[in-house]
């Protein structure tokens, strides 16, 4: 028990702190049309968008909860605040204009420093709104757009509406509907043809207040032969009450484009993290989802790539770490809608202290899509007898001319491995951390160096108190 406490304490000092920030505007708890009316009028939204939200709310009520995956029965949708705005002026482009306490939070999390050192632009969301949004001027001049969705819709209406809600429709699933009804904050990115954005753009999502649901929405369009790396991170204070985070992410990679989307999810362990992420990849385009899930009480997330035209390729790398009372139900989907498309899904899960890691994935090849290649590999590492790992792979292969491979592996940390490392001078905890970091190194290697270091530290933090 003491060890568990120390993990929480450690998370609390580093990420789980909260600031007493004044609320500028908030809806009451509860899920109903009135909340949407309030959000829409606060944001001065068009009738079109308001109707979109109302339609989504109807869809939310009509859809049943998923009857598979993690246990979601304890979510009380009427005990959640769906919109909380801590800002009188949003999306500042200078940290000086961000309210003191909010700025302090992001400074403690190292966001402005990272921005100065190695990013092309940053968006920082605090509860329901973006407190800061900035892209480097040279990129802005080249026509790269990086704004919040409100701005995207008002200023870049045509391109925004062309794709918004098309990749992940309202009716896709109950939580996509929920997000569509209440979405606020997130990113809208457009990269013009042939522009290669060298340094990543980053968004950081911070929940600060208790009982607030966060429903950010991200839409990224990378035009022909353009390239982008996008990174998102997230943390929250550790509250005794559960929180809900339900995002929708829509990606479009047009002909020849390359898009790499990196997630370092580190929610506190009272957050339900239920996210729909999907990409459309067109001719010869490549989409990579690099998705790490460390925190949260429950995660259900299966980043998907729909390969719409020949030559498209998908790479999905999903990492999950499930500790005590955590269920990480993660994986990926590769949908081959065109011939000569290629996909790879690698899933790695680590479970300890009774945590549960589940791989859930889909490979689908439509009839007539010849020359498809797909590889799926899911590896699980169990750190003790209490922990659990399952795999739920689905294959829907309608075309005979497809090369599909699937491998699964479950391993345990052996006494001999631990003794070997300990005899050389590592404590049991350090030895376990080394084995776990080695196990996920395939993932760490894909990260920019600064994030790889951060990720390794997070794993080590999670390993603390792993052994008594």
């Amino acid at each position: 028990m003491m060890e568990q406490l120390s993990i929480r304490e450690d998370y609390k000092t580093k990420y789980g702190f909260n600031e007493d920030v004044q609320t500028i505007f908030s809806t009451n708890k509860g899920i109903n049309e009135e909340v949407i009316n309030k959000i829409s009028s606060r944001k001065k939204e068009s009738q079109w968008l308001k109707e979109f939200r109302l339609k989504a709310l109807k869809a939310f009520f009509s859809k049943s909860m998923p009857q598979w995956g993690a246990d979601l029965n304890r979510i009380n949708f009427d005990d959640i605040i769906y919109y909380l705005d801590p800002l009188s002026k949003k999306s500042a482009s200078n940290w000086k204009d961000v309210p003191e306490k909010i700025k302090n939070t992001f400074e403690r999390l190292g966001i402005p420093e990272a921005e100065r050192k190695f990013l092309s632009g940053v968006g920082a969301q605090f509860d329901s709104e973006m407190a800061y949004h900035k892209i480097r001027e040279d990129l802005e001049k080249q026509g790269v757009i990086f704004v919040d969705p409100d701005m995207g819709l008002s200023k870049y209406k045509n391109i925004f509406r062309k794709w918004f809600g098309k990749i992940v429709p309202i009716l896709d699933n109950k939580f996509a509907a929920l997000n569509s009804a209440f979405f606020s904050g997130g990113s809208f990115i457009y990269v013009p043809p042939n522009i290669k954005v060298a340094l990543p753009l980053q968004a950081y999502f911070r929940i600060n207040s208790e009982s607030v649901g966060q429903f950010e929405r991200t839409l990224i369009i990378v035009d022909k032969n353009a390239e982008l790396t996008y990174i998102e991170g997230c943390t929250a204070p550790s509250y005794s009450k559960d929180s809900l985070h339900s995002a929708v992410v829509e990606l479009v990679a047009l002909e020849g484009a390359k898009l790499r989307y990196i997630t370092l999810q580190n929610w506190s362990d009272n957050v339900y993290n239920l996210v729909t992420k999907r990409a459309f990849a067109y001719k010869n385009a490549r989409v990579e989802w690099i998705d790490a899930n460390l925190g949260a009480k429950v995660t259900m997330k299966y980043p998907s790539v729909y390969m719409m035209e020949p030559g498209a390729s998908a790479d999905i790398l999903s990492i999950a770490y499930a500790g005590k009372n955590q269920h990480q139900d993660t994986g990926g989907k590769a949908v081959h809608y065109a011939p000569n498309t290629t996909s790879r899904i690698i899933s790695k899960s680590v479970s300890k202290d009774g945590g549960r890691g589940s791989y859930r994935g889909l490979v689908e090849v439509r009839k007539g899509c010849t020359g498809v290649k797909s590889t799926v590999r899911c590896d699980a590492l169990l750190l003790d007898e209490l922990s659990r790992s399952d795999t739920y792979p689905t294959m829907k292969i309608e075309e005979e001319d497809a090369t599909i491979s699937h491998e699964a592996y479950v391993g345990k940390i052996g006494e001999e491995q631990l003794f070997y490392l300990m005899s050389k001078g590592l404590t049991e905890q350090e030895a376990m951390a080394m084995i776990v970091l080695g196990f996920v190194s395939e993932f760490t290697k894909t990260l920019p160096m600064e994030y790889a270091i951060e990720f390794n530290k997070l794993i080590e933090l999670n390993m603390e108190g792993a052994v008594g």
Binding site: G414, E415, E416, Q417, F419, Y420, L421, M422, S423, K424, G425, L426, T427, E428, E430, A431, M434, I435, L437, G438, F439, V440, S441, E442
Partner: protein, 250 residues
């Protein structure tokens, strides 16, 4: 002479079976001891017990390192005191480079505070001594290593942490004659600086290059004979059976 290791009447069980039945052994600074004997007599077990393997239960006796009873210490605590075990069968650790591993154990043991680049420079010098290339250092720890490569990697760890006492479990098996020469030359260097060596071996081949001060023959959980390097030659010509018969005749 400073005493490093003192083993007194050590009895050890593994999974309910007694495998060491009263071992007595003393190793001083700078000494080389060879522990010989046929297969399955407990040579490797003794190394594991010294290093603190949790599966090996000491039922009687004592184990002192530099006058301190270390029986209650964890393996990592023993390593930090200056004990080192080169494994006969090193364990594979996926995704961890040899390079990173050496940097980590160097930090844990010698605590010299070298940064990674400084460390790497000095590491490359040591690695070259025993024929380890930069590419080899980037490989995953023991993963897919040949028998000889495993031994070289263990000896490189020895050179890196520079322990007070090293138990080297069959560093000679699986190595060709050239590797054996370079490995024993490196071990000799470490020994010259005062490191005590307990060399566990099956054959006397290695003893042509590494001259032990004492040879102990372990049979059926007991050290039945201790002698000088002469003993090794006698064993080689007469075989272990000769000693066994002598033991059982008593």
């Amino acid at each position: 002479m400073t005493e490093l290791l003192r083993i007194e009447d050590l009895h050890v069980e593994v999974e309910g079976k007694e495998i060491l039945k009263g071992i007595n052994l003393k190793i001083n600074e700078g000494e080389i001891h060879a522990l010989m004997g046929p297969n399955g007599v407990g040579k490797t077990s003794l190394g594991y017990v010294i290093a603190g393997h949790p599966k090996y239960k000491v039922t009687k006796g004592n184990l002192f390192f530099k006058e301190k009873n270390i029986l209650e210490l964890r393996p990592d605590e023993r390593a930090k005191l200056g004990l080192f075990l080169a494994f006969q069968h090193p364990v594979e650790i996926q995704g961890v480079s040899l390079n990173h591993f050496l940097y980590t154990i160097n930090k844990k043991i010698s605590n010299k505070g070298l940064n990674f680049l400084e460390f790497r420079r000095s590491l490359l010098e040591r690695a070259n001594l025993i024929g380890i290339t930069q590419e080899f250092l980037n490989r995953q720890l023991n993963v897919g290593f040949s028998g000889g490569e495993k031994k070289r990697a263990e000896v490189l760890q020895l050179l890196t942490v520079n322990p007070k006492l090293a138990v080297l479990d069959e560093v000679d098996s699986g190595t060709d004659i050239d590797s054996l020469k370079t490995l024993t030359a490196a071990i000799t260097e470490v020994n010259k600086n005062g490191t005590g060596i307990l060399l566990v071996t099956h054959y006397d081949r290695i003893l042509q290059y590494l001259k032990p001060h004492y040879i102990h023959v372990l049979i059926d959980g007991r050290i039945e004979k201790t002698g000088s390097s002469e003993l090794a030659r006698e064993l080689e010509s007469k075989g272990y059976n000769w000693l066994k018969q002598e033991v059982y005749a008593q």
